[in-house]
């Protein structure tokens, strides 16, 4: 029986999913109607729906971040990219004679995402072209990007009033919040892109052992450019979503700290910061966990000021659980002390038929 449970127990996603379920259930304890989903005017409503809707931007950024981390890199600039994307889109729409014109909105979105690709390629250039460490390279855009966003909005919060645009973040389609659909589609496309093509395999190879992947003939530079551009695009979409939700673009506040939450989501989801094997599904779970945390705190009446504190505890717990030396110390306390090695025993344990 233990043998059957063991494999599930050791699955990478076990703890994140377990904690997620725990959190959701604890919500149920305080709010018996937590899991209920109602249909009003053909739209689904409910706390669970809210979690998905509010967590969608983080999921998007997390997906892009996962691929970057998979190659052994990191992208600190996503928050600034979110702000810039929002600023460009809202800025363009604000200047339209008719803010409800669909074509105008589509142009705004296209411009915004196009610029995001450029920003991503800039990061890729610094990392793959100039060989600068990713943490430093993306720091530059992180710092300058906020200034650029504010430059675009001229220091104001650009407000708009456009029903096609507000669909992205706040609207509904086919009964579900549009943002959830977007997140779902991006996740599905990314999963297909990564697992149906050889991209996922090659990225994991690059992140896992860069020198071996070079000697295997993998052209890692092109892949690195690609993932940074992709990461910027997902951040851009998240920016559109966020600004659509509040019908405005705030160069200062949009996407603040989202890079930290995204990195957290990736780590919780089981992808190592050093690169190699990555899990998009894990990141989604991680993002949902973070969002659920925030929601749980609100619904259970715990003061919202403690959100950060709880996040800190969750991060610490996850990191310690993933740390081999921590696990070793815990298990050592349980195992009986071994005095002097027994060669035959060790050989038995480590025997691998060859």
């Amino acid at each position: 029986m233990i043998a059957k449970i063991a494999p599930i127990y050791r699955h990478r996603l076990f703890w994140p999913v377990a904690i997620l379920i725990l959190l959701l259930l604890s919500n149920l304890f305080f709010t018996p109607t937590f899991f209920s989903i109602q249909v009003k005017q053909g739209h689904l409503y409910g706390s669970l729906i809210d979690i998905l809707r509010l967590g969608a931007p983080l999921i998007l950024v997390g997906i892009g971040m996962t691929l970057v981390i998979g190659t052994g890199g990191i992208d600190l600039s996503v928050g600034s990219v979110v702000a810039i994307a929002a600023a460009i889109a809202c800025g363009h729409i604000a200047g339209l004679p008719n803010q409800d014109s669909v074509s105008g909105v589509l142009i705004a979105i296209a411009m915004s995402l196009a610029l995001c690709v450029v920003l991503g390629l800039w990061n890729g250039f610094l990392v793959a072209g100039l060989g600068i460490q990713p943490i430093i390279a993306t720091l530059i855009l992180m710092v300058a990007g906020r200034g650029i966003a504010q430059l675009i909005t001229d220091g104001q919060i650009t407000t708009i009033n456009s029903s096609p645009y507000s669909l992205i973040g706040g609207g509904y389609w086919l009964g579900l919040p549009f943002s959830i659909l977007v997140a779902l589609v991006v996740f599905a496309l990314s999963a297909v892109l990564v697992r149906r093509s050889a991209l996922g395999l090659l990225l994991e190879a690059v992140g896992g052992n860069a020198e071996a992947s070079r000697l295997t003939g993998i052209r890692s530079r092109r892949l690195v450019w690609l993932v940074y551009a992709f990461c910027a695009v997902t951040a851009g979409i998240a920016g559109l979503m966020i600004s659509s939700n509040v019908n405005s673009a705030d160069g200062n506040a949009a996407g603040l700290f989202i890079e930290l939450d995204a990195i957290l989501a990736v780590v919780i989801g089981g992808t190592a910061l050093t690169g190699g094997r990555f899990s998009l599904a894990g990141t989604v779970i991680g993002a949902l966990l973070i969002q659920t945390l925030t929601t749980t705190i609100l619904t259970t009446g715990v003061p919202p000021e403690t959100t950060m504190l709880v996040k800190a505890l969750v991060v610490t717990a996850v990191c310690l659980l993933q740390s081999p030396s921590f696990r070793a110390r815990i298990s050592r306390r349980r195992a009986k002390p071994v005095v002097g090695p027994d060669i035959e025993q060790i050989q038995e344990q480590r025997k691998v038929p060859a």
Partner: protein
């Protein structure tokens, strides 16, 4: 073993008895004994994977011992880290320069033990003492200069200066001369001799035969983690030593069918797969001329450090050549990268399995298809069905165990990892297959399988470039043998009437053939 009463009368300062050290999948040390007397230079020798570095790391506390005991001056020694080993009086200089290049020479020598006054380091005194030490070692550098601004050779000398400064009872030198030229080696030996006269016990690991015979008093030979023998230097000749290190294999392999080699005429008649003229790289390998034909096995023999890996890396584009030309499959042109070489039909199975070959986290199947997939690019994936077929095929053909294509390669034993890497390259159906030490650190059964595989591949028309430290292997499999010594190709001969002894002579003494 020793009948010299003067020797017997002395007590060893260091005794290691029955040392066992096991890593997942490989037994690095198997019941090794070693002893070191004060006032002697004791050379520890053996090929890659013999266990020399492991023995030293066990002694200095970098790895914990799995079995056996170590005694220093009769008392049992248990150290859990390099700092403790140092405090106990064992001072080590590693093969890789383990110093801090961003600090000054004097600081590197003294750090951790600087002369201080009220917590403040006395730099002037430190520099002065460092200067004296360096002068004694005949190293003419400014102690205040930054370590990183000097050549590796000088850095190595500074590392030795640090070790000496610690006034140890035991000085361990792990391949200290790899980056030194002849003059620097002489300097080092003068220092070693003076330390010996002071009663320091010196453990000297090296693969340079001449140097060992010049400075050592006794020799211990390890092979495949086991102790082979211990001799006073006077009682052994160079050829005998080479024999002990890389000589006769166990019976199993000698029973393998002797392969009928291609005669030189036959080989020359076949199309040329790879031709290099004057191909060289400064500091790595002097220009070589090598031609490999279809269906020919070209074996490279030589000791560790003679440039074997460097030669084959040039054929793969893993390193850039400074001089000469290379033509693969009729296509001439420099190999700018491994990807280029692969597109011309070259495959390279590296000797550094862990660092340059295996992607430990990924599964057997993924590792096997990796090179093929890389050549196709990310947009054209190999179908899962085909991947499973490939994996199943090679698992069976090469007898990879455990026969689970989804197992992470890092969990396999060394031998099976090697087979996975082989499968990876075979899947690309190359024209030229380069195998660098494919049977190192592998159990005998797997060794035999891999050797048989090489024979089969050559018979089917593949050109094979085969590097090995095991002369038996090279002799059995090769049609043509290239002998390397000190980074120069000293001979390139058809495998006709060649014996282990003749090759060993070439290795031991140089260009005479």
């Amino acid at each position: 073993m020793d009948d010299d009463p003067a020797v017997l009368a002395r007590q060893p300062v260091l005794t290691m008895r029955g040392i066992h050290k096991i890593f997942p999948g490989v037994k690095a040390l198997d019941g090794v004994d070693f002893r070191l007397f004060p006032g002697e230079v004791h050379a520890l020798m053996g090929e890659n994977g013999a266990g020399k570095s492991t023995l030293i790391k066990v002694l200095t506390g970098v790895y914990p011992i799995d079995g056996g005991e170590v005694r220093l001056d009769g008392a049992q020694l248990r150290v859990s880290g390099p700092g403790e080993a140092q405090d106990a009086g064992i001072s080590t200089v590693y093969q890789e320069v383990n110093l801090c290049p961003n600090l000054s020479v004097a600081e590197n020598i003294f750090i951790g033990r600087e002369p201080r006054q009220f917590g403040r380091i006395k730099f002037a005194e430190m520099r002065q003492r460092a200067g004296e030490l360096l002068r004694r070692m005949e190293i003419d550098i400014d102690p205040g200069s930054m370590l990183g601004s000097h050549s590796i050779a000088i850095q190595q000398m500074v590392a030795i200066a640090r070790a000496i400064n610690i006034s140890a009872r035991v000085l361990v030198l792990d391949e200290p001369t790899s980056s030194l030229d002849a003059g620097e080696v002489e300097q080092l030996f003068r220092v070693i001799r003076s330390l010996r006269a002071d009663g320091v016990a010196i453990l000297f690991v090296s693969h340079f035969l001449d140097q060992v015979f010049e400075v050592a008093d006794r020799i211990t030979v390890l092979r495949n983690g086991k102790l082979v023998s211990e001799h006073p230097i006077a009682e052994i000749s160079k050829v005998q030593l080479v024999n002990l290190m890389i000589g006769h294999e166990l019976k199993v392999l000698t029973e393998l069918e002797q392969r009928s080699n291609l005669s030189p005429e036959e080989a020359a008649a076949r199309p040329v797969v790879a031709a290099a003229q004057g191909l060289g790289r400064k500091g790595a390998i002097a220009p070589v001329d090598i031609v490999v034909h279809e269906g020919e096995v070209f074996g490279l023999a030589g000791l560790l450090g003679s440039g074997r890996t460097e030669v084959v890396r040039l054929f793969f584009g893993a390193d850039h050549a400074d001089s000469g030309t290379i033509e693969i499959g009729g296509v001439a042109g420099a190999l700018r990268s491994p990807a280029t070489a692969i597109s011309r039909g070259v495959a390279f199975c590296s000797e550094d399995r862990k660092g340059e070959g295996v992607m430990a986290e990924l599964s057997v199947r993924e590792n096997i298809v990796m090179a093929m997939q890389a050549a196709r690019g990310w947009a054209r994936p190999i179908s899962r069905r085909k991947q499973d077929e490939l994996a199943a095929h090679y698992i069976e053909a090469l007898d990879i165990r455990p026969a689970n294509p989804e197992m992470p390669v890092g969990n396999l034993s060394g031998g099976n990892q090697q087979k996975v890497l082989l499968a990876r390259w075979l899947a690309t159906e190359p024209k030229l297959l380069i195998l660098d030490e494919p049977t190192r650190g592998i159990d005998v059964g797997a060794k035999a399988q891999i050797q048989e595989l090489v024979v089969r591949l050559a018979r089917d028309g593949m050109a094979v470039f085969f590097v090995s430290a095991e002369l038996e292997e090279v002799l059995r499999l090769s049609d043509t043998i290239g002998v390397l010594r000190d980074r120069t190709l000293v001979a390139s001969l058809p495998n006709v009437d060649l014996t282990q002894e003749s090759i060993m002579s070439m290795i031991a003494s140089g260009a005479e053939s």
